[in-house]
Symmetry: C2
């Protein structure tokens, strides 16, 4: 059983209105030291798989076909023991 | 300037319908090896601050007052050089 963590963020030039709203709210609360704020999603899943390389491959495929809108988002896959793979 | 990563997840006994929907969709796509799926949010922000301990404290306060619904969610704060602090 392998634990996979997928973090998904907007590509750099994509507008992130939630991030902008959070930044404005923090400024209103007095946190003037806050600069850029970016939001994203995370998906944590367990895979009934023993090979981490294959788990990584499968997770990447899942990102491409379902989990991530690759037009506007990028993702990182982390296997819980620390390996990482970006796209 | 300190980069702060905040990851927010539902507490363990809170229903995560999006996670369940993702698990069902992955099963439908043939990924029968997928077990539990949990979703969460991530917020990445820059703080105009030099002391990491103080940045961590401020970020925790921001989580408590605005960013996190602490009734149903938990958060982790990571300063980009690796320190971590849970709640």
């Amino acid at each position: 059983m392998i634990n996979v963590l997928i973090t998904i963020q907007f590509k750099e030039d994509v507008l992130d209105p939630e991030g902008k709203a959070i930044a404005a709210s923090l400024h209103n609360l007095g946190y003037s030291e806050v600069g850029a704020v970016m939001t994203g999603r995370l998906i944590r899943l367990t895979l009934d798989e023993s090979d981490t390389a294959r788990a990584m491959q499968k997770a990447a495929k899942m990102c491409e076909v379902l989990l991530v809108n690759t037009i506007i988002e990028t993702y990182d896959i982390t296997i819980e023991d620390g390996e990482e793979n970006s796209a």
